[in-house]
Symmetry: C2
Subunit: 463 residues, 2 copies
């Protein structure tokens, strides 16, 4: 199908026209131009505006048809009434994809909005043009430095393996800024808006072969055709992890969803049940969504729920153990060999079974290394939860594990909560994360929940 | 009782002796000295060590009795076996309080540890000396620049109204570092350790009259005398909010708790039920503990569960509404007058009832101001949840609310999730928080949960 074939060009264009480009800051077309330029898009950018001859130092054209070269992607940011005409020009021009930022279609009270929606859908579908939007902030493909959104600041985000497909621009901004602050990387952020002819199902189909996207994250408010998403997810189940956060539980939420992107949120429980059956892991808040995606993008799935809890202080270890019990993880019983090695490295007054309180080894990074090594050699262990709070006296506590976990961490997950005052261990933690040794979280509970979600996803995959 | 009278001096000493002070970095006595000096304690510091004549530029004494002046507080960091002798010297010297960092008492397998515990308890109780510890990292009183712990970095924490009383040093470090990173201020952090003669109940009694501490936060693993805490909390119920996080749900956790600070964790559900009945709000993770404490320290309690949800984008507003429904908050129906004003400020295509989607007012900070003003005038509204994600086009969206919420925010709670890429809105958010206009959180769900916990606490207070 032509539309699906064009999706790859939509996300990886060699030429982008901004229809409604502007050099006035009060116009969204200004911000879109800035996004493309500041985002470092290195191929052709073509501003289109009947008024201007030059915008941000680039030659502008009155219409897309006045430009002689090819246009792969058109970003449209014009009043809704002008969009059908522009779509026709795009079809004639042979545009391969459109990001339609403009609002004023199906989401408005006026039935004229729905009529416009049908009209432009007809044009796009006939021409085989996939359309992101309308009523969206746009989309970003980080790996090709394409920021096709009205928020230039998205380009500060790190490149990574998480692809966000979202029904809400606000939620996309929230998750994007959270990721910036937590140093988590994304492959793409796609604001589906009113989903003219690209819905969750089409995105899943496209992303299955997108090698940049290791994990797919969905933010869902409501769907016209939930069956398409469910069937699509079942088809791709196991190929890539899919995590979904669905809002719109209450009636009020449903009304909100209707007005927001033009569809009812539907019955929440039916949705989440169906999503789970399709192999999609559901979560119930933005933080867990990002935490889980971060783990999925970097960690192997545990082959058993048996955890080793290694902590530098007993309290955080107990917090992790509590949540393990709640979330279907077990505190494993070590083999005799493992236990013997740990007993050699820690005095009797310490907790040495599991959780292991490594407090007495603070001064001795080789003892911490020895404990981790013993646990890594224990086949009963499906994953390691490693918790270490800085104290002035244990500043060298991480030395023993640098490099040690790198190979093991590619086979089994190591999830940590290592925390210090700002600036002390931050670089060491980043190095451990970048070497693939572990994935770190700001609290023991968030670390444990991420591990539990890896295990839940692993179980889903097998049925 | 002399011991309770001495508590005030323990936390506000004019002279502090460090018994076991050291200038060797491998000794905890080194870090304790550094904490006192770097923490800016401006009164007398007396290092005590039989070997040294000078430690960190201060004259050292072979024993506390060799120092001629008075000693209010003694911090003891010596092998357990030496502690009884030192306690006797402290009693003779007229020391008013002791922080006993040393481990090796009731928490070890050897019954000699329990014997030592009894011995030093006898000495301290007879002399009326309150003792924090043993087996603790220490305590910090931020408002008197007293860092009596082995972690100098605690002194980076901002002064504020939250007092943490914790059975775990690791959890104290975790919460302290979380607070540093979230710019949340503390009054005191107290590591109770094995609780020789200062337990949760004594801390509650002391803190009731401590004007620096607005909110009391407890981290509990297990208690010998839970009844004391419960009775104490009932007595002080309503005077100050008390929030507790209790770990040790599972058997494994219980074993951990036993070895850690010398007592069984006990049956988790019985504990949390009893804590609730005593007017203590219980939470189940470190993040919610800190989030709730932050709100309690700055916000009034809502007089009704009726919320106004004002959001700059629909998605985060829906997430907040979902959690309101789960957590016992209502999305209020505005009065006709309020609704009319909002309708004047927003076009029909927007969500205008509640949640209010202020998206169309992005460019118009006076419209946002008008909406907030209308909602503030509505007596049905018990609190405002304000959610605003930055986008390049709405960079001025906060202008209208600066100053506007300051007075209202002292009567009713305004809790927000305002988020931008690092560095853009951070200063404006800090100014809004410091003026008492609102309290901000990194996600809509965390903001909503903090509001719900304010309401839950308010309901508790009334029975």
């Amino acid at each position: 199908m032509k539309k699906m074939a064009n999706m790859k060009i939509l996300f990886n264009p060699e030429s982008v026209a901004v229809i409604g480009a502007s050099d006035k800051e009060a116009k969204l077309g200004f911000h879109v131009m800035k996004s493309l330029i500041k985002g470092g898009f290195s191929d052709k950018i073509i501003p289109v505006n009947p008024g201007g001859s030059e915008i941000m130092g680039l030659m502008a054209f009155p219409s897309i048809t006045d430009y002689e070269g090819p246009v792969d992607l058109a970003i449209v940011v014009l009043p809704a009434g002008l969009v059908p005409g522009v779509f026709k020009e795009c079809a004639v021009k042979g545009v391969k994809g459109i990001v339609l930022i403009s609002a004023g279609f199906k989401e408005i009270d006026d039935p004229a909005g729905a009529d416009l929606h049908e009209e432009i859908a007809g044009i796009a579908n006939e021409a085989g043009i996939p359309v992101i939007g309308p009523n969206t902030f746009g989309m970003i493909n980080f790996h090709s430095d394409l920021n096709a959104s009205f928020t230039p600041e998205f380009s500060h985000l790190k490149k990574g393996g998480i692809c966000l497909v979202s029904q809400s621009g606000g939620m996309s901004h929230l998750l994007g800024f959270m990721a910036m602050r937590a140093d988590v990387g994304f492959s793409k952020i796609v604001g589906l808006g009113n989903r003219l002819n690209v819905d969750f199902a089409q995105m899943l189909e496209y992303l299955t072969d997108d090698s940049d996207s290791k994990v797919i994250v969905l933010y869902i408010e409501g769907l016209d055709e939930p069956r398409d998403l469910i069937e699509g997810a079942k088809k791709y189940n196991g190929k890539k992890p899919i995590i979904a956060y669905k809002t719109g539980k209450g009636m009020v939420g449903d009304q909100a969803s209707l007005s927001h992107t033009g569809s009812m949120a539907g019955r929440h429980e039916i949705y989440t049940g169906a999503l789970s059956q399709a192999g999609i892991l559901t979560v119930d808040n933005a933080e867990t969504l990002l935490d889980t995606a971060k783990a999925m993008a970097s960690c192997p799935i545990p082959d058993s729920p048996g955890m080793a809890v290694l902590s530098g202080q007993a309290g955080p270890g107990m917090a992790a153990c509590d949540l393990c019990a709640d979330q279907g993880l077990n505190i494993v019983r070590f083999t005799e060999k493992t236990q013997q090695k740990i007993n050699e490295l820690l005095p009797p007054l310490a907790l040495r079974t599991n959780p292991v309180d490594m407090g007495p080894a603070w001064y001795d990074s080789s003892a911490i290394e020895g404990i981790v090594r013993a646990v890594m050699d224990d086949d009963n262990v499906g994953g390691i939860l490693f918790l270490m709070m800085f104290a002035s006296a244990n500043v060298d506590a991480l030395k023993g594990i640098s490099g040690l976990l790198e190979k093991w961490g590619q086979q089994k997950p190591v999830i940590s909560c290592i925390l210090s005052p700002p600036g002390i261990w931050d670089e060491q933690i980043r190095a451990l994360e970048e070497s693939g040794s572990l994935v770190n979280y700001p609290t023991p509970e968030r670390a444990t929940r991420a591990m539990a979600n890896l295990w839940k996803y692993g179980k889903m995959k097998t049925f």
